[in-house]
Symmetry: C2
Subunit: 511 residues, 2 copies
């Protein structure tokens, strides 16, 4: 009984400090006094459609960012690729008197494409607050008027609320807080907001190459991705590489009545099912020849970090309704250190109300291939193509001609989309790595998580290869943010925490 009482006594002040108490932390004081303004600026930015292929929307976002940087005295400019209409990066800078090191702070302002009809009660570019996640009964709330309290458990729903305009707002508001409280950054600051990350960064290398001197630095800090599923902050030392491949298989040249021709005309949906099924075993292991051959094993520091990271698989399984994950019982954190093959989507003719009794003409699978250190994205795609050929398919990169159709029983069009890149990992013992870890740790009561790699991807290999700078990723979003899907959202407390994290990073001890 006594011991229990003691622990309650100890825990209570800690809780108070986090949630209720008066604070003397200047960044927190600043944020509390400015929540309404921060939210307004965020909502305004989220209201501008930001799919990388929408040139007009992207330009409006970039123009808004330029205004935001200008208002802060950060000397903004657009960094353009040579291709007309390619999304520009938005650049800004701040010179710190006496600083010897320079750090680039990165976020991206574009978001994943989305079908507005799939959103529940809100729309992608009409930001809306809910009292909680809508799956948990969160109800829609009006935007709070000045003076009205803002509950940190509220969720803001919009495309890129988490991924990755939250990054832009966290970085810039951290800067605001320092300025307002007359605190100085410890390093020279550069800001790089990319406009096509979700499209695979097809022009990033060109933009970096064109501005090597402007972008020279000692390190990049990347604000993207979610914090750990346990809610703990994390520093991530690497990312998987990524490339997308679209596979189309062919049936008859025109859709056929499934009665008159069923049993005779080849059905592309079934051919695609058989092809996909040939790629993985029933535990989710990729059985394409050589798939895992190039992967570099984890080092000692990485294996230790993994073993120290909190295990969260059981909770995730419960929350996501998963009885048996892939991987034959190995933990998620281990599995994301391997290359993957994921089906992003399938389509053939129609299902549901528009379904008709037809033999479809084509069936399409959108695949993404995640890569780890040692993999090369072109080599991995070549393995996939070889596998498709080994299943008897004639592989082409264009719509098949009549002659191809009449020569080959099985025809597949396989397109590697532009913008693939390889994995990246920064050594945990670099001085900048230590400085980043120490800075983030100052903002957290418990130990932060050190993650050798994110399962997700960022074009970090392109940054190191082009500019020579190491990269460290410090995420801010809640893990259940529906990133990349409909109903993307951010939990406000994650944004508030993110501002503190980035204020600590702007003042990190890296000399």
């Amino acid at each position: 009984m006594k011991r229990r009482l003691v622990s309650v006594i100890v825990a209570f002040p800690l809780l108070c400090q986090c949630v209720f108490a008066q604070t003397t932390d200047p960044v927190r004081v600043y944020r509390r006094a400015n929540e309404h303004r921060i939210l307004r600026e965020f909502v305004e930015l989220l209201s501008i459609p930001n799919v990388a292929s929408d040139a007009e929307g992207i330009r409006r976002n970039a123009a808004r960012l330029v205004e935001m940087l200008k208002a802060r005295g950060l000397k903004p400019r657009l960094l353009e690729a040579s291709t007309p209409n390619a999304p520009p990066a938005v650049y800004g800078e701040w010179t710190t008197p006496g600083a010897t090191k320079t750090v680039v702070f990165y976020a991206h302002y574009d978001g994943q494409p989305t079908d507005a009809r799939k959103w529940t009660g809100t729309r992608p570019w009409e930001p809306a607050l809910r009292s909680a996640p809508f799956e948990k009964g969160g109800r829609l709330l009006p935007m709070p008027a000045d003076g009205e309290a803002i509950d940190p458990e509220w969720r803001l729903y919009a495309r890129s609320a988490s991924d990755d305009k939250a990054g832009v707002i966290s970085i810039l508001t951290a800067f605001d807080a320092l300025r307002a409280k007359q605190l100085s950054p410890t390093v020279n600051l550069k800001f790089f907001f990319e406009g096509e990350e979700e499209a695979g960064s097809p022009h990033l290398v060109e933009i970096l190459s064109r501005h090597k001197e402007l972008l020279s630095s000692d390190a990049w800090v990347i604000c993207d991705g979610p914090v750990h599923q346990s809610g703990r902050k994390q520093v991530v030392f690497g990312v998987r590489g990524d490339t997308n491949v679209e596979v189309t298989v062919y049936g008859p040249k025109r859709p056929l009545h499934s009665g008159h021709y069923g049993n005779w005309a080849p059905n592309p949906a079934m051919l695609l099912a058989r092809l996909l099924a040939s790629m993985k075993d029933d535990r989710g292991r990729v059985i394409i020849k050589g798939w895992y051959d190039d992967a570099e094993p984890l080092g000692e520091a990485e294996r230790r970090a993994l073993s120290e990271a909190p295990a969260y698989d059981r909770e995730l399984m419960k929350e996501l309704g998963i009885k048996r994950p892939e991987g034959a019982g190995r933990p998620l954190l281990e599995l994301i250190n391997e290359p993957s093959l994921n089906v992003n989507g399938l389509a053939s003719a129609e299902t549901g109300a528009l379904a008709r009794n037809v033999i479809p003409t084509t069936a399409v699978a959108a695949l993404d291939l995640r890569l780890v250190l040692g993999n090369d994205h072109r080599r991995q795609v070549a393995r996939l193509v070889a596998h498709i050929r080994a299943q008897g398919f004639h592989v082409t990169e264009r719509e098949p001609t009549d002659e191809e159709r009449l020569t080959h029983p099985l025809v597949a069009k396989v397109i590697q989309e532009p913008g693939g890149y390889n994995a990246e990992r920064t050594r945990m013992d670099l001085p900048v790595a230590r400085a980043v870890v120490a800075a983030v740790q100052t903002t957290s009561a418990g130990p932060i998580v050190l993650m050798p790699t994110l399962g997700g991807s960022l074009p970090l290999s392109l940054i190191r290869e082009t500019l020579g700078a190491p990269t460290l990723t410090v995420p801010v979003a809640n893990y259940d943010n529906n990133q990349h899907a409909e109903n993307e959202n951010i939990r406000l407390q994650n944004l508030w925490d993110g501002i503190e994290t980035y204020a600590a990073l702007l003042t990190m001890k890296f000399q």
Copy 2:
């Protein structure tokens, strides 16, 4: 040389008679004098949206048909199901003095659902003429003014242009021609135009049962489906049964970032691919246990008819771009006498421009199961369900609960859609069968095709089971009509021929 010359001489007048020559055939004379009016009435009917689930459109179609029957003195009435908003059948009748037999002429006025965006240059319910099929460069034409020539090779594009408003127009125009030329039918006529055939006729049995006496007859003649691929007219003695099944498999409860969770969260698109692949072998043979067990073998007459039917597989393969059909070399006509399992459509998350790097939450396959004599649609679906269970799936008919997801590694929702029915075949030696064959043969220079069964389906078993009447199917549409798909069309010569076919059937020698 001589023999060749002779055959040219013989063939030429035959050709002239069909295409160019003056004719004394009163039905043809009538049609030639009335092509513009027939086309106008057809276009008007095709302009009314006619998907069975669109209650308002269906009512407008039914009202238009009632007007058309009334104008012809055919005493129309609507035959309703008890369910509100179920599509009514449109009934009409004509008593022939002295006739001892009664024949019901059937067509359906509803059409398959369709996505207007998939049509090429025209829209489903805005009928438009082309000079030829658009794949062969057919250009859009204005509707011909009175007096302008109408080329019989023109195509009329619209939903149901072939399937099956062409049936309604063929039957009613044949009746017009007889009346105009003071020719009398030989049998009492009843007309039954169904409004939900493409939805699987879920209320047909109820409507037939409610009006048994009104609908009493010696036989039904069904105008639906295409003529033989060779262009020859055909009489069809049976149809396959049909039932639709939708299979949904489940992944995580919310869409997940494919990087952060790929390799760990089960992917429903891959699970569905594996499930579908388990259903057929690489020759298209269904490997679900017992799939072919109930099928009655063909009789002697049917096998003879099949062997006499023109082989058209080579031409079809060339036209459709198919190098290797399913069925290990067996001909199409033989294969459609077996039960089938067809994937009508697949969907999981998105492909193409909307594709995102996600692990989808569900994957859906729309299946149709064609049935032959001996099969029962409920029994065949039970086999499918047993197979899905044997692959390790927990099978449910509702969205799975959280508990089901957390109890079973694999969950599939399997829904048999309403409206399935069994196959039907009429004996070739019945008097009415002989009369129908003889009547159709009088309208054709070459031998017509006798087809034991269509690959497609019509609810003919429901008619025989409910009313006891045998059914014979006499199609009119061109085989390349894109039935059930986008860009449905009819070749005008097929409509003209159909009118002559049905005039012969209204005057068949069946006493």
